[in-house]
């Protein structure tokens, strides 16, 4: 691993200030993707700004009489998975968090770290997009539909820090994931939700440009929220990822199956 400078600011201003002062700096959350990438030489920041001492980035809050949940960016997956608040209001989100990576990863990996990294096979992007969540940064609020910009790319500006994510509580929701047996990332993951604005279907793991919504499924579900309503809808394989682990054709098929199962479960 290349040497780097390290700071551990105790105020938000210092953290964002440190990042602003060094263009080659990176925020360090749980580090479960970043440190792995640095070990392999895939990432070599000049400075790490550790977010661990910023209590305002942690925790789970119920907002607006239970209409929404705000999860701090530095909340580890295990905490989201075990949270009574999350379990009671958005069980699908708790279950999703409980299925990320493995147990040790869930004890360190965080929501904010996952979203900032935007791995095309990560789980959280499906929940954020599927629930029409809002990403709250130190500068602005970004709607999920505007946040994800492709493979490992987001709307975050340099130095912009994710503070938390606000998830509107849906009428119902479910996440179905088909794991890559090696990495345990999503070969295909489908998040379905019946939200106040209508149904949403978000797919991770499969897209050649990262997480995406399946509008055709959403329209069908708007007419009839049932697994059956999705039976004849096939996502075009041409827009999906084909790799060592699965062909685009198989992924397209799985999107359909998992979406139906998620709807049935929700």
């Amino acid at each position: 691993m290349q040497p780097f400078a390290y700071s551990e600011p105790t105020t938000l201003a210092k953290a964002t200030g440190a990042a602003a002062a060094n263009a080659d700096s990176r925020y360090l959350a749980g580090g479960q993707s970043l440190i792995a990438a640095m070990k392999l030489g895939l990432s070599a920041p000049a400075e790490l700004v550790d977010l661990a001492r910023l209590p305002e980035l942690r925790g789970i809050k119920v907002e607006g009489n239970g209409a929404a949940l705000t999860v701090g960016a530095m909340t580890p997956h295990a905490e989201v998975a075990a949270s009574m608040e999350v379990g009671a209001r958005i069980a699908a989100l708790a279950a999703l968090a409980g299925g990320i990576g493995d147990r040790q990863v869930r004890n360190r990996g965080t929501l904010g770290g996952s979203l900032a990294n935007d791995d095309p096979a990560a789980d959280y992007p499906a929940a954020v997009l599927g629930l029409a969540a809002t990403v709250n940064t130190n500068k602005r609020q970004i709607a999920a539909d505007d946040f994800f910009k492709g493979l490992f790319e987001t709307a975050l500006a340099p130095g912009e820090l994710i503070m938390s994510v606000t998830f509107p509580v849906p009428k119902k929701a479910a996440y179905r994931k088909f794991r890559n047996p090696a990495s345990r990332f999503a070969l295909v993951g489908v998040f379905v939700a019946q939200t106040a604005q209508g149904p949403r279907v978000a797919v991770t793991g499969a897209g050649s440009r990262g997480v995406f919504r399946v509008k055709s499924m959403e329209q069908a579900l708007a007419r009839d929220w049932s697994a059956k309503a999705l039976e004849s809808i096939l996502v075009p394989a041409s827009e999906l990822q084909s790799d060592l682990h699965a062909s685009a054709e198989y992924r397209a098929h799985l999107v359909g199956v998992l979406a139906q199962r998620a709807v049935a479960e929700a």
Binding site: P3, F4, G31, Q32, A36, L40, D50, R103, Q104
Partner: protein, 156 residues
Amino acid sequence: MKIPFSLTVNGKPVSTEIEPRALLVEFLRGPLQLTGTHVGCDTAQCGACTVLVDGKPMKSCNMLAIQAQGANVTTIEGLAQGDALHPMQAAFRKHHGLQCGFCTPGMVLSAVGLAGQVKQPSEAQIREALDGNFCRCTGYHNIVKAVQEGLADMTA
């Protein structure tokens, strides 16, 4: 550039200076000579490097030592009380839950970290809970039995 670093390892306070890029596992195996924590991969998947950080199993190969600043770290060397094995260690021995021993420290600590999470976990729950630890020798069969008994003995 080294920076000051303090934490508790196996109940003993440690104060030193460290390079920010040092991984926790490098710190444990190097300066502290706690070579029971093993490195089996470079992508944070095999779990041989698992230690308890404030009671929670984490992969010491995938965190900077400095991220354990102020934390309470338990390695395999800190589990037994003198000559008396921890109930989880004893259960692994009784059920032949180890062969070559290389994955064992991480596996045992991962299992210890399960205590209190689920009451009397089923076989399937234990298998799922070991998702962060590879064993190439045992086929996991006896590990699952050992974890089941070790957890029961820990709460007994």
